[in-house]
Symmetry: C2
Subunit: 233 residues, 2 copies
DNA sequence: GCAAAAGTGTTAGGACTACACCCATGG
DNA sequence: CCATGGGTGTAGTCCTAACACTTTTGC
């Protein structure tokens, strides 16, 4: 290790995960009761130490696996926080990731067992440290993402109706998209595949299920919904 | 320091700066000859260790000040790299920032004295480690930024012509914007202020100088140039 | 007057919004 | 047959790309 000879300063290195889930037409965030001092017992994002010989993205996957039992969760880096006084427990540097999860009963059991809880977007609790800022950044990130590509693959079930997708977008942007226009726009993107099956639970007529096409590049270079952007900020 | 009792692992903590400058209608990047092993003497981004009791953004400003003499440089965080084997010298975590600089003679003297050199976008040298990836990410970031707000305040001189601004955009997106349409769009945004003075060096008729209005929010929520996005990706 | 950049005007096409209007079907 | 969400059609508006055109002035 070449750099050791200089006796350079090293810092505690952690990750925080902002976990989004979707259930019953609601976008939710997962918080944990903190297990160590300081602020033990308060609500916080899922966090953990990065280990020797580990990348932060792998550490984030590891803590996700530990606390939700989920493997191979979709995640993206959000931002890195390193103000020396952000954590009263010491100088800690944190790389933030957001993760997207399909909520189901199995998850909810594990979640409960670990003292964690889902919160809706408009009912967020007070969080430790700068975690409220972390959430803002993560929200910002997924809004931009949902604006530039058709978003939902990692939050919706395999098959879903256009209305389901619209509800998700309504949640993300906290607005109401026009059903007709939303449908036309979304289908024009050519990334969805229509199935033969119908969902009969929401209407007499029934709504066809769709799914994301395999191997389809989802990224566009242009905002999908103008209206969304205006809401976004 | 609460966390010390656990004897948690700590990591070497550094910053890298991707420095953009603009001179003679060319967008340029600043690279340095690396001064320590490994890869001593090879071209690299400006980097430095983060110190105890320092935030990464402050460390980035500090190394910029040290090597360019510039204070208060505009910068934004780009991404954080932490794969344990990315630096052959040891496990180092790096937070990347990009910085925007108005090139002038004073800068260029200091730059030369420090064994640094400006490179045009299409003539980048080979760089150490993953620094080529870092540059891609920084470029991506400023392209997105230039797409969502009127960009150039930190790269152009105080007063500039619309043609100057268009050249900058041409460089950023490696394309050619239509002079008439570019002018109309840019002026419609209402963030530029027309001066009485003309630049007579580029044409017989002369072109009016403009400057960015003070205290104007520059961020939009919508792409400024559709064409730019298409080029962008 | 000519060249060359600055700056303005015009037109066709595309995309989005708002909203009217069918469709299918369980009750 | 009716209420309800699913789904389609359309007119008006706004934005943009392309490009023709006018302006200014040193030579």
């Amino acid at each position: 290790m070449l750099y050791n000879e200089y006796e350079e300063y090293k810092r505690l290195f952690s990750v925080d995960c902002t976990i989004f889930g979707y259930e019953e037409d609601k976008l939710k965030l997962l918080f944990f009761k903190r297990r160590i001092e300081p602020c033990k017992g308060k609500w916080s994002l899922l966090g953990g130490w990065v280990r020797k010989n580990e990348a932060s993205e792998d550490a984030a996957q590891r803590v996700l696996l530990d606390l939700t039992g989920l493997d191979n969760v979709f995640q993206e880096q959000v931002y890195t926080f390193s103000k020396p006084d952000r954590d009263p427990g010491g100088e800690v540097l944190t790389v933030e990731y957001y993760a997207l999860i399909k909520i189901d009963n199995r998850i909810n059991e594990i979640v409960e067992k670990n003292g964690a809880s889902w919160f809706e977007l408009n009912q967020l609790p007070e969080l430790i440290f700068d975690h409220n800022e972390l959430i803002e950044r993560a929200l910002d990130k997924i809004r931009k993402k949902a604006n530039n590509e058709l978003f939902g693959k990692h939050l919706l079930p395999e098959k879903f109706t256009i209305t389901n997708l619209r509800q998700l977008y309504n949640e993300i942007f906290q607005t109401r998209f026009d059903p007709g226009n939303f449908r036309k726009k979304v289908l024009s993107l050519g990334v969805l595949e229509k199935l033969d099956e119908k969902d009969m639970s929401e209407s007499r007529k029934g709504a066809f299920y769709y799914r994301f096409k395999e191997n389809k590049e989802l990224t566009y270079t242009m905002p999908i919904f103008k209206r969304a952007i205006n809401i976004n900020n």
